[in-house]
């Protein structure tokens, strides 16, 4: 106890603390209204939500991977058969498998290279057909510009650019001699000083 001249400083502090804050009441000591209670109820939900988030991300990644694998398979098959139609390359591969099996002796394995060779051969033929068809379509007067390789709108006279006026904009300079009619507009070279 600190006393000085009969005065008790400790008692003084106690008295003053009691007077100023000793009777203060907090807002409410009800646990239901507390931050920890909110965190406990919300926290478990948020924990669950983060778990589901993580799970959904994983599922999403798995699905994306699967989709890429399927797409990759389709692209590979499409490249091998020359056709984007799964029915076409499915039949091609089935036929190749059965013909290759026939070629193998009993107990012999490994038809992969045979099937691959057949598929490639078929693909070459299909691609040749498609190339011919494509070049024929390029001269078709009603061909839409978006289907032309390069996906660039052209000034083709018979084409119907979507949402475009029938006449080319006046700001586009006329194509010079020797330029391809479907090529991009040629900008005149700026004069150099």
């Amino acid at each position: 106890m600190n006393t000085s001249g009969g005065f008790d400083f400790d008692n003084l502090i106690e008295h003053e603390l009691e007077r100023s804050v000793g009777r203060l009441q907090g807002p409410s000591p009800a646990p239901a209204q507390s931050a920890y209670h909110a965190a406990a109820t919300g926290g478990s939900m948020s924990g669950f939500s983060s778990f589901t988030d993580a799970a959904s991300v994983k599922v999403g990644v798995a699905l994306a991977t699967a989709a890429l694998m399927v797409a990759g398979g389709a692209v590979a098959a499409s490249a091998a058969t020359g056709s984007a139609d799964p029915g076409v390359w499915g039949k091609t591969v089935t036929a190749a498998v059965s013909s290759c099996k026939d070629k193998l002796a009993d107990g012999q394995h490994g038809i992969g290279s045979c099937v691959s060779a057949v598929a490639k051969q078929h693909g070459v033929e299909e691609r040749a057909e498609h190339s011919a068809a494509s070049s024929a379509r390029q001269n078709h007067p009603t061909k839409k510009p978006n289907d032309i390789p390069g996906n660039k709108p052209t000034n083709h006279p018979g084409g119907k650019p979507s949402g475009m006026p029938p006449n080319p904009p006046s700001t586009v300079p006329p194509a010079g001699q020797g330029t391809h009619p479907t090529g991009p507009p040629v900008t005149p070279p700026s004069p150099r000083p």
Partner: protein, 185 residues
């Protein structure tokens, strides 16, 4: 030491601890922060932190002292941030009269004002000892420091308070305050 009625990790036990200790923790925080709203925020934050660590609480330490320790650390952080805010506030209000807040004025007794000027750890020791009646040993357990450190903090804090309050012969804000400190002899 009597067995604690609280069970670590048990939500019902923590609810009981909250109900039992909230008001005292709140008063400690008001004394240290000097601001009722800040004390409420700090109290909620402290109990939230305590709840997160509830599984780790060891039954051989008093639960209320443990919560107080967390609360005082929260108040120390608050005061640190508050000091930074006050610098900005001071610059903004430079030259303007500061409006008197009745709530703040109610808590603005000489002792509380001087408590807030003390380092938070010293203020906490004064409050735990003289408001809640903790012994030095209990304060040491609560704050996780040696008992001798508590004794030193108490001594230094009281010396500072005595000097400052003794210097103010006339109470500044509260004339009805029983606090009349005679000059140091």
């Amino acid at each position: 030491m009597p067995r604690s009625p609280y069970l670590p990790g048990d939500k019902t036990s923590f609810d009981a601890l909250y109900r039992e200790t909230y008001t005292r923790v709140f008063r400690t925080l008001v004394s240290i922060t000097g601001d009722r709203a800040a004390a409420e925020d700090c109290a909620q934050d402290a109990f939230l932190q305590a709840f997160k660590a509830w599984k780790k609480w060891k039954q051989d330490a008093p639960a209320e002292a443990w919560v107080h320790r967390i609360a005082i650390n929260t108040a120390i952080s608050y005061r640190r941030k508050q000091r930074l805010r006050e610098v900005g506030e001071l610059i903004r209000r430079l030259g303007r009269p500061v409006a008197a807040d009745p709530e703040a004025r109610a808590l603005d007794s000489d002792l509380l004002r001087e408590l807030r000027r003390l380092p938070a750890k010293q203020a906490a020791v004064i409050v735990l000892r003289h408001l809640h009646g903790y012994t030095n040993r209990e304060i040491a357990a609560a704050l996780g420091v040696p008992e001798s450190t508590i004794a030193t903090r108490l001594m230094v804090a009281k010396r500072t308070l005595r000097a400052r309050l003794g210097g103010a012969r006339e109470p500044i804000t509260d004339t009805s305050s029983p606090l009349r400190v005679p000059p140091i002899e």
